[in-house]
């Protein structure tokens, strides 16, 4: 049995690399097949296309193609007043929409000099909503990895629990998915009565889920065999490619914006980002599972430490005429997928001159993926993409 799992394919039929660095692939030789994975939209992995060249079912070359989603959100934001940016920004990344709201709000506040005026209460509520966003992302992402190996039950549990968090979002922000909660100057609502209690109930369910999902994934022979040794990111690549977030941490590089460049009140929370060393799909899943535990803990810490009452928005200029002096800033935060940043330029007018979102998928899903897929099997493509937390909408803003 163990012999079967350690089967190593014969790579001898692979094309040679020419002097120009290109592979010598002659499709008419009938040795190779082209296969397009995507673009269609059965899930995040289908939002972009991966052009595979196969020898049998093994990948000899992968090319990533993006551009199927391009909606010009950055440009839309550049044509809107500062306060109108955040409802549009959330579409740039559906997985954790709140991160976009925060980047827009924080950028405008920094450039206009109102960053110090954001009330204490709002800072904590921002942190709460960002961690809730991370939590709902992980509830989908952690079992989602098992889902790519056809272990569907975890996904169903995760979706249910995520819905409970969306219920909390609904009562806090007024919406389930696109919350539009973090506004320049603060946030748009206080905690409703009884929120903490209901949240705690949900977190307890999630505690139980965390144990279950461990049994389902990490104590599972199928998952172990499929996830270990596949999609390896060697530690050296982390620097070379600019890999961030859990992908970097699973390769032994401890990187977390919340720790390295603390924002909001993360410096008042007690946590240590989990790491692993193997850098394969298994390691990334493991790190994310640990992060799930940590996020639950962070939400508990936030709810315990946040003030009971306070203002939710700074006194700001009239949003209709708000002008921000000339300036530029790069704002970043740690999203579930890693460093998520925004370059924001103002020119003294009432609209931003340039808004540029820099999400981790840009590296992870374009350059890195092409390299990682070579020598793997077709069946591993989705698993690899999901393990990188690919989010094409954030590539094509």
């Amino acid at each position: 049995m163990s012999k079967f799992f350690e089967f190593k394919p014969d790579r001898s039929k692979y094309p040679a690399m020419g002097a120009d660095g290109k592979l010598d692939i002659d499709l008419s030789s009938q040795k190779y097949t082209k296969l397009w994975l995507g673009p269609n939209h059965p899930g995040v992995t289908g939002n972009m296309a991966v052009e595979l060249t196969l020898a049998g079912d093994e990948i000899v070359e992968a090319k990533t193609h993006v551009g199927y989603l391009h909606r010009g959100f950055e440009k839309l934001i550049e044509r809107r007043l500062y306060v109108q940016g955040f409802p549009t920004s959330i579409r740039m990344c559906v997985a954790e929409p709140d991160t976009n709201e925060y980047l827009i709000a924080r950028s405008t506040e920094v450039l206009s000099g109102y960053d110090k005026d954001v009330p204490e209460m709002a800072q904590w509520l921002r942190m709460l909503s960002l961690e809730m966003a991370r939590l709902q992302g992980l509830l989908r992402g952690v079992p989602g990895q098992a889902g790519t190996f056809s272990l569907g039950i975890g996904v169903q549990w995760g979706v249910y629990l995520r819905d409970l968090i969306l219920d909390r979002f609904e009562e806090l922000t007024g919406a389930r998915v696109y919350h539009m909660y973090i506004i320049p100057g603060g946030v748009r609502g206080l905690l409703p009565d009884g929120f903490k209690k209901r949240m705690e109930d949900n977190l307890r369910d999630i505690d139980d889920f965390i144990v279950r999902i461990r049994q389902l994934m990490f104590n599972n022979a199928i998952f172990n065999k499929r996830a270990k040794g596949i999609g390896v990111i060697p530690k050296e690549w982390v620097e070379q490619y600019g890999i961030v977030g859990t992908n970097a941490r699973a390769s032994g590089v401890k990187r977390d914006i919340r720790k390295d460049y603390p924002y909001l009140h993360y410096d008042q929370l007690d946590f240590d980002p989990p790491t692993a060393t193997d850098g394969d799909i298994y390691a990334r899943s493991w790190v994310r599972w640990q992060e799930l535990i940590q996020t639950v803990d962070l939400i508990r810490q936030i709810m315990a430490k946040m003030p009971e009452k306070g203002d939710i928005r700074a006194q700001m200029p009239n949003v209709l005429h708000w002008k921000i002096p000339k300036g530029e800033t790069y704002t970043r935060l740690e999203s579930g997928r890693g460093e998520y940043g925004m370059y924001y330029v103002t020119d003294g007018s009432d609209k931003p001159r340039r808004v540029n979102l820099r999400g981790p998928s840009y590296t992870h899903a374009i350059a890195l993926l092409e390299k990682m897929l070579v020598n793997t099997n077709i069946a591993d493509v989705h698993a690899t993409m999901v393990s990188l937390q690919t989010c094409p909408p954030e590539i094509e803003r």
């Binding site: 049995m1 163990s2 799992f5 809107r80 007043l81 306060v83 109108q84 409802p87 549009t88 272990l151 039950i153 549990w157 249910y160 219920d167 609904e170 009562e171 806090l172 922000t173 007024g174 919406a175 696109y178 539009m180 603060g186 748009r188 609502g189 206080l190 409703p192 279950r212 049994q215 389902l216 104590n219 599972n220 022979a221 199928i222 172990n224 065999k225 203002d311 939710i312 928005r313 006194q315 200029p317 009239n318 949003v319 209709l320 005429h321």
Partner: protein
């Protein structure tokens, strides 16, 4: 490979016996109380200001006319119509709504087979959720998209004020003006109400853009007396300002003053800014009788068109009631001169101390000119005609106010009683208080009006300021008699006034005789309104004119009388106030131009 790992995953089967967790009927599930569902609008509260339209980043809102809702002061008559093909339910429109009329209810679903149904006017097109209470509302009381409170205006203290006639409103600093200007939501509700339809949001924007010259150009489009109006306008605009629905209205008047104050009193500079250096003469002449606001406004707009204007003024200086009726502490003379000097610099001729009807007849003016405009104002005092009111110690406020300006002798007694509840009554009260203070070192003046406090016609702030300055205001009493003992005025006997008008709205005050008081005073000043002096209209001319109620000459809506060459405006036709006069003068100027261009 751990053999345990083969069996552990089967623990998921333990969940088989758990109840399903999904809710099978999502339709009857209530959304959170804060959920952003569908729009509802209380159309009786909404004023159609269009601020929701301005903030909507998806251009999902259009303001549309609605049957049964009339345009009126403070209400555009329009209501927001929302296109659910564009809306993203961000609720920014709710957060900014100036009246809090717009909300979202916590409705999850709306199914309709008619695609057009999704473009609807909330509150007008009835929806099943209209009566729902829950849903997104403006978050908390201290969450605002624009400033709610006025930037306070610097003023001299009451004790200082009453010591002199120095202007006591200090005017905004640059920072104050910009902060106040920032509060405007640029809805234009004020413009519709302003008699002159001034471009208020535009000149407020000029303040924000720090472009005073542009601000001046906007002011002069509709009002050639900005320094004056910026001080003493009755600011009907502020009464309707949409920011005022839930906060303090914009200080529109002070902002106007701020712009004009930034330009130095230099007619060359004015001519540069307003591009009025080389106006071509069109060889036609218009005579203007009087130099009040309507006259100056007509003169200005006609002069811009190249008319040769001659103003005939009975008094030694220009400005009419603005100079001779409004006390200097509210409107300093140099500011009047600043506005008027510029108008005169456009080649407008003015002949002082000429009384039309005496020194020159209206017919003569008609012969010498292509058209005539008369805005002669209300300069005659009105008497209460109560017993004793013919005593020499009973005065008319118009007369005294004029004497203060001309430097003629003004009698100031130790104790004064003023009758009247309008702004002029406050003007004379506060002026006499200043004179008393100078002469006797103390203020001892009682002002009484027929109207009770809540319906006194005077501006609220005038009443408050008068009291601050030590004047006693006792509203709600009707004068019955000037008490005279041995030929000497001792005071005013009054009765409590119960009501002023009868069922048919005719003036017929009812008194409570049991509540009688005597206000002590050595002189009594009557300030119960003014009348007009139309003696310059000869019998022949009068025959050609039509007269309406209260002896007012009838004009068309362009202020043209039934003698086509004669136009009349200002307080004798409408108002009474400065801004109506300015508006009348402007409209009349355009009408005179049209009239004289007919057939050309």
């Amino acid at each position: 490979m751990n053999i345990k790992d083969v069996f552990t995953p089967f623990t998921v089967w333990s969940k088989v016996v758990k109840d399903p967790v999904t809710i099978k009927d999502p339709l009857s599930r209530e959304a959170a109380p804060r959920y952003r569902g569908f729009h509802k609008n209380d159309i009786d509260v909404c004023i159609g200001c269009g601020t929701c339209e301005a903030i909507c980043e998806n251009q999902a809102i259009d303001l549309v006319p609605v049957e049964g809702i009339e345009t009126k002061d403070g209400d555009s008559g329009l209501r927001p119509r929302i296109d659910y093909g564009r809306c993203c339910w961000c609720a920014l429109c709710v957060d900014i709504c100036t009246t809090n009329s717009l909300n979202l209810t916590n409705e999850y679903t709306w199914v309709d087979t008619d695609p057009d149904a999704f473009i609807f006017t909330p509150g007008v097109d009835k929806k099943s959720w209209d009566d729902k209470e829950d849903g997104w509302k403006k978050p908390v009381p201290n969450y605002h998209f624009y400033g709610q409170s006025r930037i306070p205006m610097g003023e001299l203290h009451a004790e200082e004020r009453v010591d002199s006639f120095i202007e006591f409103v200090k005017g905004f600093s640059k920072q104050q003006a910009e902060e106040e200007a920032d509060r405007c939501v640029a809805c234009g509700i004020c413009t519709a109400t302003c008699p002159a339809h001034m471009g208020i949001p535009d000149y407020i924007a000029a303040i924000r853009n720090e472009d005073m010259e542009e601000g001046m150009r906007i002011l002069y489009e509709t009002n050639p007396l900005p320094e004056i109006c910026g001080r003493i306008c009755t600011h009907k605009c502020e009464d309707v300002c949409s920011v005022g629905v839930n906060g303090d209205p914009l200080s529109i008047r002070w902002l106007k003053r701020y712009i004009a104050d930034q330009i130095p009193a230099d007619v060359d500079k004015y001519n540069d800014i307003l591009y009025t250096k080389d106006i071509k003469n069109n060889n036609r002449k218009v005579a203007i009788v009087g130099s009040g606001p309507s006259d100056l406004s007509a003169a200005y707009y006609l002069a811009l068109l190249g008319y040769k204007i001659t103003i005939y003024e009975k008094l030694p200086q220009a400005g009419g009631m603005m100079r001779y009726g409004i006390p200097e502490y509210r409107l300093p003379y140099d500011q009047i001169d600043k506005d008027i000097d510029y108008i005169l610099s456009l080649g407008v001729d003015i002949k002082y101390n000429v009384t039309v009807g005496k020194d020159i007849t209206l017919d003569q003016l008609h012969e010498e000119n292509d058209a005539v405009f008369a805005g002669t104002g209300l300069h005659l005092g009105r008497s209460t005609r109560i017993p004793g009111s013919d005593n020499e110690k009973v005065y008319q406020s118009v007369e005294l106010l004029r004497n203060i300006v001309t430097g003629a002798e003004v009698p100031v007694e130790r104790k004064i009683v003023v009758i009247g509840g309008g702004n002029v009554a406050m003007d004379i009260t506060r002026s006499m208080a200043r004179l008393q203070k100078a002469k006797y070192g103390e203020v001892n003046i009682i002002t009484t009006s027929l109207e009770s406090e809540d319906i006194m016609p005077a501006d609220r702030e005038e009443v408050v300021e008068a009291r601050e300055e030590g004047c006693t205001i006792i509203p709600g009493y009707g004068p019955q008699e000037v008490v005279i003992e041995d030929g000497v005025v001792k005071g005013l006997r009054v009765w409590k006034c119960l009501s002023i008008f009868d069922e048919n709205h005719n003036f017929s005050p009812k008194f409570d005789q049991s509540d009688e008081r005597v206000f002590e005073g050595d002189m009594v000043i009557e300030s119960i309104g003014q009348g007009m002096d139309l003696s310059y209209l000869s019998e022949d001319i009068k025959k050609g004119l039509e007269f309406g109620p209260r002896g007012r000459v009838q004009t068309n809506d362009k202020f043209q009388t039934s003698l086509p060459w004669l136009f009349m405006g200002g307080d004798i036709i409408q108002g009474p106030d400065v801004i109506h006069g300015i508006a009348n003068g402007h409209i009349a100027a355009m009408a005179i131009d049209d009239f004289l261009n007919q057939g050309r």
